[in-house]
């Protein structure tokens, strides 16, 4: 039997935080604990959830990707431009664009040996600039090809269709991480890079794949963002990288790498959205929400440190066998 300390506890933090936050906001704001509000939150979390799941892959291989917000903005904008030129399905061009940005990040980190922060900071700046350049001067590009508001907002069995689509992608990410060789290798690389080389894998290629997945998910998030807004927003996405890191870390992704659970990350994203919506409904200044996000990031980091400390204490009593889960 696997001791709880090995994996369970860190993935329970996010659901527990959701419950605690909901209870708090429910007490403070009468309109919070209603079905309508719940559904509204459930309809809103998907952009952040996609970014956070992507970020999870990067954190799992002991990295960071601080370019995800800019990548989402660029890929969403290019997707809208393609959709206007070639029809609606071309909006999905956002995904290969994100994948390409992820490839650059992954190559720089995995192959050229850049530190993740430096590599993704460089691409953050370049991609942000590119998004402004392709649109002239940061103008929003309206989505002329068709009306996506219905897909993005009207609920079908609880969630808007694009929410279901995002959920499907996240489920795919779960299958990939848990059951496919690539996902297992990503976890393995995070917990013990030498082990990957010993079993015959190429560490740099796996690291690159992790950043590629991160980029592709950022691209998906960009497409979703464009569909929701009905326009490509080249300046959107600033601050999203922070929220995605917070969501991923609250969702139990270990900053030391090698531990991740997609559903817990989804719960982490939901927690961030619960806090934002709750603050919004309580009528505090929207700027206060920004402060709250900052506090959540730091708290998530402290939680990770605390958990590592506690679990290392606990696991001394159990002899751990495998180091990756």
């Amino acid at each position: 039997m696997r001791p709880l300390s090995d994996s369970g506890a860190r993935f329970l933090v996010a659901p527990a935080s959701i419950l605690a936050a909901s209870a708090l906001f429910g007490l403070a704001t009468p309109g919070f604990l209603t079905l309508d509000n719940g559904l509204s939150i459930a309809g809103q979390i998907w952009i952040l959830a996609l970014l956070a799941v992507g970020q999870m892959f990067a954190i799992t291989v002991r990295g960071f990707d601080i370019s995800v917000g800019a990548v989402a903005a660029l890929s969403g904008t290019l997707g809208v431009m393609a959709a206007n030129a070639f029809g609606m399905p071309a909006l999905l061009l956002a995904v290969p664009v994100g994948f390409a940005c992820g490839t650059v990040n992954g190559w720089l980190v995995g192959r050229a040996g850049f530190q993740p922060i430096v590599a993704t900071l460089g691409t953050l700046l370049a991609v942000k600039g590119l998004a402004l350049l392709v649109t002239g001067d940061g103008q929003a590009v309206p989505l002329a090809a068709g009306d996506t508001a219905g897909l993005a907002f009207d609920a079908v069995i609880g969630l808007p269709p694009l929410g279901w689509a995002a959920l499907a992608c996240i489920a795919l990410a779960h299958v990939l991480l848990r059951h496919l060789v690539l996902g297992r290798r990503i976890l393995m690389l995070g917990s013990n890079p030498e082990a990957v080389a010993l079993v015959g894998g190429a560490p740099w290629r796996i690291e690159m794949s992790a950043y590629q997945l991160c980029g592709a998910f950022a691209g998906l998030a960009g497409a979703l963002m464009a569909a929701r807004a009905g326009a490509g927003l080249p300046t959107e996405g600033a601050g999203m990288e922070l929220q995605s890191i917070a969501a991923a870390v609250i969702g139990g992704t270990a900053l030391a790498g090698g531990r991740a659970n997609v559903w817990a990350v989804l719960a982490g994203a939901a927690f961030v959205q619960v806090v934002l919506t709750g603050l919004n409904l309580s009528g505090v200044s929207p700027f206060f929400a920004q402060i709250a996000v900052g506090a959540v990031i730091i708290a998530s980091g402290l939680m990770d440190m605390g958990l590592r400390f506690l679990l290392s204490r606990l696991s001394r009593t159990f002899r751990q066998q495998g180091t990756f889960q």
């Binding site: 960071f64 601080i66 720089l108 192959r111 050229a112 040996g113 850049f114 530190q115 922060i117 430096v118 590599a119 900071l121 460089g122 691409t123 953050l124 700046l125 370049a126 991609v127 942000k128 600039g129 590119l130 402004l132 350049l133 002239g136 001067d137 940061g138 601050g239 922070l242 890191i245 870390v249 900053l255 200044s285 700027f287 206060f288 929400a289 920004q290 402060i291 709250a292 996000v293 900052g294 506090a295 990031i297 730091i298 998530s300 980091g301 402290l302 440190m305």
Partner: protein, 327 residues
């Protein structure tokens, strides 16, 4: 145990033998003089230096954090918060105390970062991005998101517009900042401990150094440099702006990276910072003068960071890579 007096200078101070960044900087300067219209005029060069001055002061702070093996993203937000605090304190406290309050805010944010990184063991990215959000949220919250104008006064505008012996105050302040940083790094005990902790925190701890305290002092000192920059910037815009300098952390990190400070920490010289800053300032200025869209500044900055860090990796590895790629 460490002896009280160590002979010679720390080897981490030595400049790489051909100071590559100085050559790059000089080359860029010549290119700009030749091909960028109106670049080589006296007025424009003074303008470049003025912009570079603020960047240089803050980059000196960033350099301390990078030598410690960290990274500091909260500078832009804390400068914005400082400007808001300053302008709000002005009517009650007067210009000097107001500016001091703003400066103290920046040092406070730096100290919080140092505490989170050193004592609580948070990764610097998480800690400084978190305080970035908190500081910029607080700045916007205090003034409701809109800039707040400051009543003009001579003392208040002196840091940005004053001249001493004909030299603009910001440029003097930047020179002073460089001298102070060099003094700390080359001759100060604390500077040597920063190198030590940045190069190998575990070894530093085993040598009996209170690593957490050294990191806290480093981030606070970085905050102090940034505070000087914040005072000059606030005085220049003469208002409290919640979105004052959003790209400041990126530009200072870029300047340090271009200057050749390894972001893994443990090494760095003040001249590298200076040349890095000059390169960034010239790039930004050239983009404006050539009449390119301002977004090119971001693109070039990003590419310059990647190129600079790429070139720092030893040439042998690059050659090997190129060999593999062509095969």
């Amino acid at each position: 145990m460490m002896s009280k007096r160590l002979p010679g200078r720390p080897s981490s101070l030595r400049l790489p033998r051909p100071p590559a960044v100085a050559l790059v900087c000089l080359g860029l300067f010549l290119l700009c003089c030749l091909f960028v219209p109106r670049f080589a005029s006296f007025g424009n060069l003074e303008n470049v230096l003025r912009v570079a001055a603020i960047l240089c002061i803050v980059a000196c702070g960033q350099a301390i954090v990078i030598i410690l093996g960290g990274i500091e993203f909260s500078f832009g937000a804390s400068v914005a918060l400082a400007s808001v605090v300053t302008v709000m304190a002005l009517p009650a406290a007067g210009p000097i105390a107001g500016l001091a309050a703003g400066g103290a805010t920046v040092i406070g944010v730096g100290a919080v970062n140092g505490w989170l990184v050193g004592r609580m063991g948070l990764p610097p990215v998480i800690a400084t991005l978190g305080t970035l959000m908190i500081a910029s949220g607080t700045a916007a919250w205090l003034v409701g998101g809109l800039p707040l104008d400051a009543p003009p006064s001579a003392a208040f505008s002196w840091p940005a517009r004053g001249r001493v012996l004909g030299i603009p105050v910001p440029i003097l302040a930047a020179m002073l900042a460089c001298v102070v940083l060099h003094g700390l790094l080359a001759y100060g005990r604390i500077g040597r401990l920063w190198y030590h902790v940045g190069a190998n925190p575990l070894a530093a701890r085993l040598a009996g150094i209170d690593v957490a305290r050294i990191i806290l002092l480093g981030y606070a000192a970085a905050g102090a440099f940034c505070a000087v920059g914040a005072i000059i910037l606030t005085s220049r815009v003469a208002s409290g702006q919640p979105a004052l300098a959003p790209n400041l952390p990126f530009e200072t990190i870029a300047a340090c990276a271009i200057g050749g400070l390894p972001l893994s920490g443990g090494r760095g010289h003040v001249l590298q910072v200076v040349f890095g800053v000059l390169t960034v300032a010239m790039l930004n200025n050239a983009v404006v003068l050539i009449n390119l869209p301002v977004a090119w500044q971001l693109v070039l900055l990003g590419l310059a960071v990647l190129a600079a860090v790429g070139l720092q990796k030893d040439w042998a590895a690059l050659k090997r890579l190129a060999g593999r790629a062509t095969r």
